[in-house]
């Protein structure tokens, strides 16, 4: 009798854990990612950087088709007159931050922020830094 109850219980536990596993989509190469619109069009820079750095994800145009969503923000401080005159530096200061959320579980699976003083290529540099670290994160999960 007890053996039968234990058997039924273990089968139920197995089924429940299987269903739980089905709902969770891992952030791994090939994941479908939606890049949400960001301030100052940073999403466009990020999409370009993801392509340039050959990040192994599929960028989709609609949130409904995606498993993950990237949200982010960026800020640029153009070099002022003082910086140009005193330091002879025309480059802007850039900072950006991105986070990747699993759209099914609402959990944030990855987040990264970058700050570049005198950024060589403006927003492109920060976007490429984000893309590089997303690629590294995916590399860990192969």
């Amino acid at each position: 009798m007890w053996k039968r109850i234990a058997g039924v219980f273990s089968v139920c536990l197995f089924l429940v854990s299987g269903l739980h596993g089905q709902n969770q989509v891992a952030f791994k190469p090939g994941a479908k990612v939606f890049v949400a619109p960001m301030q100052d069009g940073f999403d466009t820079y990020l999409k370009a950087a993801l392509q340039k750095k050959k990040v192994p994800i599929t960028i989709v145009g609609s949130k409904d088709d995606a498993d993950f969503a990237i949200t982010g923000s960026s800020e640029t401080q153009k070099a002022g007159t003082a910086k140009k005159l005193i330091r002879l530096d025309w480059h802007s200061d850039e900072q950006a931050s991105v986070s990747i959320a699993n759209l099914k579980t609402s959990e944030i699976v990855f987040a990264y922020s970058v700050n570049k003083q005198s950024s060589a290529h403006g927003k492109q540099s920060t976007a490429e830094a984000c893309a590089k670290h997303i690629k590294d994160e995916l590399g860990k999960k192969k």
Partner: protein, 146 residues
């Protein structure tokens, strides 16, 4: 009559501190693995905080849906870029940053944690202040666990 008074006195002296300590102990802690929702902030400071929490390996789960969260983190931040005088006299282009966070238990509506940071010469702008908040949050969670 005297014994009843003794019992009453004992109750007044002993029970309230027990209740208070139990309340503060239970409500003020942030258990490891709790689900935290970070409220959106103008300027995207919430994303810097998320990145800092991931980087500092704070033992909590970040969620983007408030209904699935146990705690809510809200914050304010202010940046002041270096002026010409700071550049000329100190040779520094680093901005001054200040930020403040608070964490609310969504079930009890109790503020369980608050922290302020002020960096007059922030090496990495918002990232530095966000990482300071994350570091101290991690210390609080680890302290609660002990």
């Amino acid at each position: 009559m005297r014994s009843a008074l003794k019992v009453l006195l004992f109750t007044i002296l002993c029970i309230p501190p027990t209740i208070l300590s139990a309340q503060s102990g239970a409500d003020m802690s942030i258990p490891t693995g709790s689900k935290l929702f970070i409220s959106p902030v103008d300027g995207g400071y919430d994303i810097y905080l998320a990145a800092a929490i991931v980087r500092k390996q704070v033992p909590i789960v970040l969620v983007t849906d408030k209904s699935k969260a146990d705690f809510e983190l809200s914050s304010v931040t202010e940046s002041e870029r270096a002026g010409w005088a700071k550049m000329f006299f100190f040779g520094s282009t680093a901005s001054a940053e200040q930020a403040s966070i608070k964490i609310v238990n969504l079930k009890t509506s109790t503020i369980v944690y608050g922290y302020n940071v002020n960096k007059s010469n922030s090496a990495r702008g918002k990232q530095s202040s966000a990482e300071a908040c994350a570091k101290h949050l991690k210390a609080k969670i680890e302290h609660d666990q002990r």
